[in-house]
Amino acid sequence: MMEEAKHGPPALIGPDDLELLIQALTHSGRQVVGPVLRDEAIVYDHIDSIADLPAGWTDRQAPGHYTLEPRADAAVFGYAVGPHSWKRFLHPPVQTVWSASRDAGDGLGFDLAPDPARPYAFVGVRACELRAIEIQDKVLRDGATPDRAYVARRDRVFIVAVNCSQPAETCFCVSMDAGPRAKTGFDLALTELLDDDLHQFLVEIGSEAGAQMLAGIPHRQADETALSQANAVLERTSAGMGRRMETDGIKELLQNNPDHPRWDDVANRCLSCGNCTMVCPTCFCTTAEDTGDLANRTAERVQKWDSCFSLDFSYIRGGSVRSSTRSRYRQWLTHKLANWIDQFGTSGCVGCGRCMTWCPVGIDLTEEARAIRAETGVPK
């Protein structure tokens, strides 16, 4: 499995060593973020210790449904992705871009919002999420007009990935070639191995920073048994995908079918609420709101997550270009699965399934794409 062992051979650590890793990341001045149990879900938040992780919990997901369930073991990463994604940290939902105030004379002073002081360390990043970060990099960092704040956060983040051991009913990363194995884009990658009485993590090293971090905590070299156990975990996960997306010819399929009757059908069910775009780890759109105080002394520009499901999103002089839910849903799905390829050279979907789990009415994009394929000339 180790095509890329250039930063060192895979290692094995135990739960106590993972605790030391979290502490080492904290001591290196980073804010450590990882999975925690909150409000009946597994979300991403600040962690101090392995004790903050959702040990012994998993999730059951279906379109429009999410429930936590206890596990039979003490796995700390035994769940699939939840309502949060890492874009909440790299590309936060609400952030001030600049503020302005009048000086003593008649002039105006502008201040750019400061960069966050502490770099992040993410613990528990899944393969689909690594791909999502890579996709957001293309949009927010590597394009002609980089997003300053994104770049500042992104370039300093330390990533501890986790290979998935338990796919959800809503997962289809295999279809999107985005998982479940973390291949690139991490500093360290863990595979949680649970035996009757042995709890350990296989650690792969993805960067020099990762190698250094690992060197600071107790570890031993991985043996063949551990490597094949990790492979078995990933094979099981690949085989257990709850959903599938046919990607062959999908760009043409969607681009050639703007008048398909399925768009009317989904428009009857869709609430235009925007949840799908908010939870999608690749959706990047924002709006800018400018406000001032009544006394005309200060003003501020605040950037907020926006969504192609709002009417304002396509508002130009005279009205909204996409005034029907039909046109908004079609825009979303066609951009995500087809036009994204023209624009950024990759699909905008990584198969994480968030948009269907967190759609209040459980609209399943794999089902919508399948329905369009079923009644068109595009080969299956």
């Binding site: 429009g64 009857n268 609430l271 609420c273 105080d293 009417l311």
Partner: protein, 256 residues
Amino acid sequence: MAKLSRLAVWKFASCDGCQLTLLDCEDDLLDLAGAVDVAYFPEASSKMAQGPYDLSLVEGSITTAHDAEQIRDIRAQSKHLVTIGACATSGGIQALRNFADVSDFVAAVYARPDYIDTLETSTPISAHVTVDFELQGCPIDKRQLLEVIGAFLAGRKPVIPQYSVCFECKRRGNTCVMVLGEPCLGPVTQAGCGAICPAYRRACYGCFGPMEAPNIPALSEQWRQLGAGKRQIRDVLRTFYGWSDPFRRESEAHDH
């Protein structure tokens, strides 16, 4: 120094909560007092100057013949007229009378029903006069109110999003209560409150009224799948904004 804009605040059938939101603006209230001439605001000051006014904020719904006459007069005296709150914007909770016979209520509640002179219905201001902007909420949000006042003073469009509560809920990082199994009005309700209820694990009550493109039949279909009955669906829709068109149509579909 340029002449200050003249502000008036009016009240019809309502609980005063929206006007109180204005008084609740604390530090900003001083800025407001400096930026406008508060010409008419009986809740706050005994000074009651004559019109015309540059901006009239109107709270409350129209429930008497006298109200219906007065609002026309206010409109005539106001350069801009902005309604504040659910009552002024959709008839309010008192518009529940519109679904029944008001004389039955009057007979049941008052010792001397003959003293009561009221209209059959409680209606929004826009049913009587042209309204320049409707600020939704029961009560309204104070930051939004300041934004609307500031925008009208500056002659720009207020930044008041009309998308769903879900936008704010997700930005806030809440876990969706509806996906966890609780019927919620958030997806069809306009943002503005900051998704307060879901942040405390309560489903949205819809107190900010319908969002820009509410698909309530699709939402109530999902509620049925979550176990909600006809009666429950009707009652949930028939509160603060029960008389707004989209909420009314869907509650009536669950009447029998």
